[in-house]
């Protein structure tokens, strides 16, 4: 990570005299504070605060900058993310700003009753006076600063590089920062704000774009894509394409070059232990176990059957004995014998015997004669049926009705049985016929069968598709459950219903409403009602039944036939869900994103910001400049790139081609990168504050209150002193 916070508390604060200025670069992403004349800021930290609550005590604390994230585990950060004092590139939240200044002065080692040093602080170009005055007020009132000066970071950076001859006194500073990008022309070493221009795109937008794109591409790894990590990815991998269109075409074609340009970030991943297939032994052991269990069950069933047979035999023997005894005794004695048993008459005993023998047969597995014995008493049973109603008592009438019912049901049962037998015979006959045909010409038969199968399956498929229309065809399974989603196609019956509803809703004629005068009109509601939506789902489809028959037949005789059931296809669709996660699932691939994200600096409309990109801004700035043609030509010969977002590789080359297209042919163009695009603003400010003339550029608390807001509005440093 190129940016590292420096937050150790300095111990030499007291060694600086009270007129030694403190220099602050209050940047959108980093806050840098140090002593005038030094080459590097003493303290650097991210310009953010967090105000989490302590998990145990519940007290709200303030954390400035970025700290070891491990220490934040004691705090509940869920409700307070990192916050910045900036809206765009303007400070607006002065409470946050004060915490940040507190921390900055504290780490610089301030230990007296006030900050008794002049302060030079950076601000954006053309900072609104409200923001400027609030900062000044803060510095004067809360910290007791004796005098303050405001300057623009890009200007300091330009001046600093001018010192080393990197750029000349007439030139262009292109400063792409965290929240915004500026192009500021310089004439005679002074910035010309009249001609500068600003586009509200910066490093923040690049990181945010990358973060959003990656988390949309890898929704499962969203939690891994923290702001800090994505910022690192951006700085490590992003570059500016010389020409976006041709670069992206490389990737679209899947060129070898594109492959080389693709980066991959491997997330921590431990392979899940692979389950080994069970060995032969294991399978055999399991089969044996199963067999043993089956055996035991069979034995148990056998024992049960044996017991039952035994019981039944005993019962039959007893009944036989009873009957024999009954046969031998006189009619009068029967009740006395039967009194000891559950039976009431001789017939009762006989029927019990018949029942018992039948169940014995069943238990032994012998066929029970299915033909219902025509009871000799059947005429007796239905004795009342043929007697006319008039001759019967009410009681008998009831009996008659019962008999009628019993008779008709038993007849119906017999009819059905007969029909089944007939059908069976018919089927048998057809099978025989088919078999004959098969034997006659097996090839032809098989071919016919296959054709039939194909036709039928197509038909069935088509019907199914009509029912669930569209759902599968465009692959639109959005999670709206059974409902019809956005733009989803309706199935035929739903469509018909919709049509009816719309025609009903919009009055069809200009004339009077005659709906309801005819009875058919009301049928419409029946058609509209939802109930008839799915009535045909329940009915078994004769085609489907036929299809099932044919496919089973095909399975029998055709070894090449593959039976594909629905169950098979659906399980195939679900299979990927159980695919074990591999290393590749934990990779974040950066391909087009590498140059797509920084491209927004040149084409802000990619993220919906309707402003000119960096190259065009240079042209706009030169156009706005009121200067002679010669100066305008000279100016492009000293273009300085500064600001954190200028660090992308390929920046200078892309800018050069862009500006060359805008400027007249043959214009000398020289683009240089600042010696350190990030720290040069602070260094320039430090050098500036160390100059002898610096105190004349500051204003005091007295000035601030006496001269008023209008004066502060037009306050501007002279950079050449």
């Amino acid at each position: 990570m190129p940016f590292i916070s420096k937050i150790q508390r300095q111990s030499d604060y007291s060694s600086f005299s009270s007129n030694h200025p403190i220099v602050i670069d209050n940047g959108g992403s980093y806050f840098r504070i140090g002593w005038a004349g030094e080459s590097d800021p003493r303290v650097i930290f991210r310009n953010i605060i967090q105000r989490p609550r302590h998990k145990i005590t519940g007290e709200t604390i303030t954390v400035v900058g970025d700290h070891n994230p491990a220490l934040l585990k004691y705090f509940d950060c869920t409700r307070s993310g990192p916050r910045s004092a900036f809206d765009g590139n303007v400070v607006y939240q002065f409470e946050i700003m004060e915490y940040i200044l507190d921390f900055g002065f504290d780490r610089l080692g301030a230990n007296q009753s006030q900050i008794n040093h002049p302060v030079l602080i950076t601000e954006c170009a053309c900072n609104p006076v409200q923001s400027r005055s609030k900062i000044a007020e803060l510095l004067f009132e809360s910290y007791g600063v004796p005098s303050v000066a405001f300057g623009v970071d890009a200007a300091f950076s330009y001046k600093y590089n001018q010192q080393f001859g990197i750029c000349s006194k007439d030139g262009l500073a292109i400063c792409s920062g965290f929240n915004t990008s500026h192009v500021i022309p310089f004439l005679n070493g002074e910035p010309v704000y009249e001609a500068c221009c600003r586009t509200n795109v910066g490093g923040y937008h690049v990181t945010d774009y990358l973060k959003q794109l990656l988390s949309l591409k890898y929704p499962h790894h969203m939690s891994k894509l923290t702001w800090e990590k994505v910022e690192d990815l951006k700085m490590e991998h992003c570059y500016i394409a010389p020409d976006y269109a041709s670069e992206v075409r490389l990737f679209q074609k899947g060129d070898k070059k594109a492959e080389e340009k693709t980066r991959c970030w491997q997330l921590p991943w431990t392979p899940t232990p692979v389950e080994e297939a069970p060995s032969e032994e294991e399978i055999a052991r399991k089969a044996a176990l199963k067999e043993k269990q089956g055996q035991r069950l069979r034995e148990m069933a056998e024992a049960k059957r044996f017991n039952r047979i035994n019981d039944l035999e005993n019962e039959i023997r007893d009944l036989d004995m009873l009957l024999q005894r009954l046969r031998h005794v006189a009619e009068n004695d029967i009740p006395s014998i039967l009194g000891k048993t559950v039976y009431t008459s001789k017939q009762d005993v006989e029927s019990a015997l018949v029942k018992a023998t039948q169940s014995l047969r069943k238990a032994k597995g012998e066929p029970v004669e299915s033909v219902e014995k025509m009871d000799p008493s059947s005429t007796e049973k239905y004795n009342l049926i043929n007697v006319p109603d008039e001759m019967l008592t009410p009681d008998q009438l009831k009996q008659k009705r019962k008999q009628l019912f019993i008779k008709s049901t038993s007849e119906a049962r017999q009819q059905k049985k007969q029909k089944q037998v007939e059908e069976e015979l018919e089927r048998e006959r057809q099978k025989k016929l088919e078999e004959e045909r098969r034997l006659e010409n097996p090839e032809l038969y098989l071919e016919e069968l296959r054709a039939k199968h194909r036709d039928l399956s197509e038909k069935v498929e088509q019907r199914k598709k009509l029912k669930t229309n569209g759902g599968h065809s465009n692959g639109n399974h959005n999670g709206s459950g059974g409902g019809v989603g956005r733009g989803e196609r309706l199935n035929s019956s739903q469509r018909e219903r919709m049509r009816l509803l719309t025609t009903a809703a919009f009055d069809r004629g200009k004339g009077e409403d005659t709906f309801g005068t005819k009875d058919e009109d009301w049928q419409l509601y029946k058609l509209m009602s939802r109930d008839n939506d799915d009535d045909d789902y329940d009915k078994p489809d004769p085609d489907e039944a036929e299809l099932a028959r044919i496919s089973s037949r095909l399975q029998e005789i055709d070894p090449t036939f593959i039976f594909k059931s629905e169950a098979g296809s659906s399980s195939a669709a679900e299979a990927p869900r159980f695919r074990p996660l591999t290393k590749e699932d934990f990779q974040i691939i950066l391909g087009v994103e590498r140059f797509r994200c920084p491209e927004i600096l040149f084409n802000p409309n990619l993220i919906g910001i309707e402003q000119a990109g960096l190259d065009e801004m240079a042209g706009i700035s030169i156009r706005r400049l009121e200067a002679s043609k010669g100066v305008k030509e000279r100016i492009t010969n000293s273009i300085l790139l500064t600001g954190g977002s200028c660090l992308f590789p390929g920046m200078s080359e892309r800018l050069e081609t862009g500006i060359r297209m805008i400027r007249p042919c043959g214009t000398p163009i020289k683009i240089v990168k600042a010696s350190d695009p990030i720290l040069d603003a602070w260094r320039g400010a430090s050098a500036y504050a160390a100059a002898m003339q610096f105190p004349h550029q500051t204003f005091s608390r007295m000035d601030y209150y006496e001269k008023g807001e209008d004066w502060l509005r037009s306050y501007q440093l002279r950079y050449t002193i």
Binding site: T62, L71, Y92
Partner: protein, 123 residues
């Protein structure tokens, strides 16, 4: 507070010796929070219309819209996008991407649209 937290000086002290007015005096606990003006409101309050237009200010230094034709790139892949899906309002590069965008759930579509500030915002 845990010793390691104290040692790291993670927590900003509430009392600063070098300050004339402390934070707790300025923003006492329990008092209603100051509502800071956002940039938009700050700009409005600046009344730039009262000043000469050739004087640079925060608003008039802004870049005008680009004069280049708007580059259309595929919202998903970043490729050049010749096609536009009227249903989702996404730009797309080819049939494969089209398949993808049609299978995207609505909130993802909206998030892709939000990337270029074109999402439907319900107020």
């Amino acid at each position: 507070m845990e010793p390691e937290v104290v040692e790291a000086e993670l927590v900003l002290p509430t009392h600063m010796k070098f300050k004339k007015i402390q934070m707790y005096e300025k923003y006492p606990k329990g008092q209603a929070r100051v509502r800071w003006k956002h940039l938009k409101q700050i700009i409005q309050a600046e009344n730039y219309q009262n000043y000469p237009p050739n004087e640079p200010n925060y608003v008039n230094i802004e870049s005008p819209p680009s004069t280049h034709p708007c580059k259309r790139i595929c919202d998903i892949t970043g490729y050049e996008a010749p096609y536009f899906d009227p249903r989702t309002k996404l730009h797309y590069a080819n049939a494969e991407v089209f398949k993808v965008i049609r299978s995207l759930p609505n909130d993802y579509v909206q998030r892709y649209l939000a990337l270029r500030n074109a999402a439907v915002v319900l107020r």
